[in-house]
Symmetry: C2
Subunit: 229 residues, 2 copies
Amino acid sequence: MEEILPAFDSAFSIDCLIFGFDAGELKILLIERNEEPFKDWLALPGYFVKQDESLDDAADRILYELTGLRDLPMKQFHTFGEVNRHPQGRVVTVGYYALIRINGQKELRPISPYARKAIWRSVNDLPKLAFDHSEIFSKGFRIIRKRLNYQPISFDLLPEKFTLTQLQGLYEAILNKKLDKRNFRKKMLSYGFLKELVEKQKGVSYRAAKLYKFDRRKYAKIFQSEMTA
Amino acid sequence: MEEILPAFDSAFSIDCLIFGFDAGELKILLIERNEEPFKDWLALPGYFVKQDESLDDAADRILYELTGLRDLPMKQFHTFGEVNRHPQGRVVTVGYYALIRINGQKELRPISPYARKAIWRSVNDLPKLAFDHSEIFSKGFRIIRKRLNYQPISFDLLPEKFTLTQLQGLYEAILNKKLDKRNFRKKMLSYGFLKELVEKQKGVSYRAAKLYKFDRRKYAKIFQSEMTA
DNA sequence: ACAAAAGTGTTGCACGTACACCCATGT
DNA sequence: ACATGGGTGTACGTGCAACACTTTTGT
């Protein structure tokens, strides 16, 4: 940032925290920036909101332009407004998050030249990110982890059919601690929104596990009070 | 709003949801607007953020200027960014809230001429507010009510010394339902952050109740994990 | 004496937690 | 046969909900 950058008065932007789960690891979607400031740095997918679009609309558009992912159910988690968080001027940014299936998505392919590419990185192996994105990540991750304690939010991270061990691995990755297998299964099954399939796991060199599906209708019935808030 | 109003490009603002408790009723702090747009309407205390102040700083300043209240522990709860929420231009507003003692505060006295006066109104008796402030109120109230289910947040609303019946009345006002007296007392006392005083209630024409104080240190020890998030 | 609110315990149920062994399958 | 994860049950403690009567005080 030794160069002189254009300045602007004030603006708002969106930054997206997109979580995915793959190979037993919780990952986050980052872009490689192709523009100053912070050219070549890794950053959260984020950009400016246009005059005539709502924040929610902007979040969808921006994520699409920078990563090729579209129509994710993103939600706001916090707004960041320190005066000097952006080197070019006053930018207040609204943080959005979503949890998605990595493999269920098509290829990552930025539309805008502003991102060179989009990549998944393990949350346990993050470099320092552009702007204050490292802090935005920490704050968002903390909020999501906390939410997991009183509301299951993790089914969007798994493939459509999954085993209970995979589900447990996901919880352990988010909460960053080991859970008891029997208790975990008992609790999950007691909710009643897991549908047991006849189909079993394939291609493993040990006893094949039952596959399950997530029943969105039952889930919605149980947690509707949570969802309206 | 038949008049022509000055227009501006885009800006961010703060709106404050200040809850108080008095005479068994949960109240909210409103201002009577003294400027267009929405002159003479009731509104949440709110105004524009300056170029050189953070959102948190702006929230403190704005609340002070419009109501005379200062240094409340306000926290962000949501950001509102619909395109046409403000008639003069694009304004994204960040909602902050706080819970305070009504009687512990000095008089309400707006500093800025922008508010004619500041008043407390029962949350059960709110008129339509200026801008989208009615929706901001609903959203914030819902969030706070929900939080009360898993974290006591209500001590700031009571006088320093209070009876358990007062505390219960407060919970009932927020949750909008009756609670069982014995269960409520058992639960509250079991937390261990209520200090029983020797002093008793005075001036009542029935058996005087014990007074209690809230022990902030013990509370912080118990809920520290909640507070850092 | 009466009115008004203060104060007080027990029981059943649901839920979380701790804990260890046999089973099925592929190599 | 063995290695690997799949799958299962019990016992205990904790916390919440339901429920009604006696006590104290001021008038």
